[in-house]
């Protein structure tokens, strides 16, 4: 059963097509890796799936609901860690969580209970009163991740969740994702760290210049005796860089 499904999903900015006719299927309860070089359309796809951008053509179903017609219902059931964390500068990390809980129908007491657990889990509890405008990049990411998980979503979209995160917290996040997946939560993540993705995900897709060039499960890949890096560079051409003779 598919939790996320896209049919001919396209996004154009003027004449430029950032994503072209995307057809994806993500099974329920799986961890799905969405890979590709910079500017290939990963974040644009995540933004369309989470209601931040409206598709120009095509449709996407999240939990069986269309992003075109049921945007609000989808938002109630998903959690999102966007590329740039999407936080309000004038609120502290703790205030973000307190603001977020009631919007998903949680009581203040429950929000505080879950918020405290999450922030301790992500090792940011002692810095909870730091204002976002003064927080480090990693702290912002952790805050945004805590907001994404706070209401116990059915589907989790994570755009570069390990970027700027310290190794200990990174390990905790990986454990969290595995345990969420075991409990039936679907995780859709983008990352450039191929080693992490390879160990974590059940299936993956590679997008290049707005088009899917490969979509398969990790099982299929290992059965073929390949690593994720092999598959990635089979589809993404690495330009040979000229040596910088003036360095050093």
């Amino acid at each position: 059963m598919l939790e996320i499904e896209t049919v001919g999903l396209t996004k154009k900015f003027g004449d430029f097509a950032a994503v072209r006719g995307l057809n994806l299927g993500v099974p329920k309860g799986s961890i799905f890796g969405f890979l590709g070089p910079n500017g290939s359309g990963k974040s644009t796809t995540v933004k369309m799936l989470t209601g931040l951008l409206r598709p120009t053509e095509g449709d996407a179903l999240v939990g069986g609901k269309s992003v075109l017609t049921s945007e609000l219902e989808i938002k109630r059931e998903i959690g999102v860690l966007p590329e740039d964390a999407a936080l309000f500068e004038s609120l502290s990390i703790w205030e973000h969580l307190l603001m977020c809980g009631p919007l998903y129908g949680l009581s203040r007491a429950e929000t505080e209970r879950r918020g405290e657990q999450l922030l301790k889990y992500l090792d940011v509890w002692t810095e909870r009163h730091t204002y976002v405008e003064q927080a480090s990049y990693g702290m912002r990411k952790k805050c945004s991740l805590a907001m994404a998980v706070l209401h116990n979503p059915k589907t989790l979209f994570l755009d570069e969740p390990f970027e700027g995160i310290d190794p200990a917290s990174s390990r905790n996040i990986k454990d969290l994702l595995v345990s969420l997946s075991d409990r039936g939560v679907t995780v859709f993540l983008t990352s450039h760290i191929l080693e992490v993705v390879e160990r974590l995900v059940h299936c993956f897709a590679i997008i290049v210049r707005g088009e899917i060039v490969c979509q398969q499960s990790v099982e299929e890949m290992t059965a073929a005796g390949l690593t994720l890096e092999d598959v990635y560079f089979r589809h993404v051409k690495r330009r040979k860089a000229e040596a910088l003779e003036w360095v050093g």
């Binding site: 938002k75 109630r76 999407a86 936080l87 003064q134």
Partner: protein, 480 residues
Amino acid sequence: MGRVATILRFQWKAYTHHFPRGAGQGRAGVGVLVLAVGLFLYRYLQTLPKTTAEVAAGETRRLEMLLAGVLFVWMFPLLGEARFCLSTRGLRRFPLDARELFGVKVASSLMQPYVWVIVAGTLAVCYPLASAPNPKSGAAALVLYASAAFFVGHTLSNLLSIASWRVLLYVAAGGGLLALGLRFMTGAGAWPELSFKPSRLVVDAATDADPLRALASAGLVCAASAGLAFCSFRLGLRAEQRPNTRRFRLGLVGRIPCRFGGLVNKDLRYFTRLLDFYLGLLIAVWAALYVAFVEDASPHVARVALMGVPLFNLSAAFNYFGFETATGFDRYGLLPLSGRDVIVSKNLSFVLLVAAQLCPFVLLASWRFGPVEGLLGVVEVALLSCGYLAWGNVSSVRRPFRMQPFRFSSGGSPVELFAGAAFGSMPGVVLAYVLYAGVGGAAWKIFLLTLVYGSLYWASVAWAAGSFELRREDLRRQLV
């Protein structure tokens, strides 16, 4: 010097790239702004020959007033400072010392076109000075005086960006203006006579038999202001380096009993970062003092004050997305909020902001003039809020623009601002007319007025909610 010049070259490039995007200014807005500045300059230029004639006759009162105006006008570009693409914070990664960074900041502030108008207006004062006994030293003192004004503006701007200094400045300015208000109410005259007036230095340099003393003093004042500006800039640099944790003091989030109470609190925090709010608050306090202490206080004056205070919150009503960053704005798209929820949360913040300013005053007015006057005051504020928000819901979603915290609001189309202010103030004016012109059926008319502005408000919420959902991507782009 070469490094500063390079940065300034790219600062100018970045500024000119930003300029065609309009910064919220429509073509009609720019046209009217040019027209308004032109009219002001025309009137200004008309006063110059009169001042010249007076100076030639040895009378300097008008010249002193002009110079005081110059000092005042120089504060505006710096307190409503433009957001530069190459900010001091961003430039700190480069091997530049504090003096170079200060140089970049000072020179960058001269890039804004309206600063050139102010420079031209200031230099025009040389015309009346030409008919003084010492025109050259007068002109030199004028340049020093204008430079001092410019650096004082920089000092204030720098200090306003440091939290502790900001509180001190608010307290000092608020206290000073309150004292002035009390002086005025007790009949002691509005302006106490000052023993030292900087504008007097220019007049003395232009008219005294020994202009060198005045010129030297003007030079000293200028150097001292430049020194202060530099010191305050360095203070700002150091303040940025402090540890980045602050205790949770405001503690209001989640306490407003509604689903989006947290958002309302966030917006309240944003809106109270505009200096305009504090001017409104000050007027509310003046009005409250008037109602409390003046023996023959008139309810008419109280009503005018009630109408005037919300005018200082126009930016919070007409451009309520102005403090959102593009990434913060994305959060609205991720949360399970409809367009209506977002618009209503913004409107609620505006209402709470106005209530915070006016509640004590309305209570005092009820105590002084009776509960009916108090009730009418509440109706007036509600009508005005409906009027401003009906306009603001449309303008905030149509054309938002970025605002700078701890500055006076600036930017946006002046046509829309004036039209919105007129539209929003209309119910207050009509209410005053209905109450005091002796027309019959006042209760019915007030009811009708409430119905009309209430309907306009709800229509604007419906339109803005739909438009917000459809145009979210465009709005985000406008806030970058």
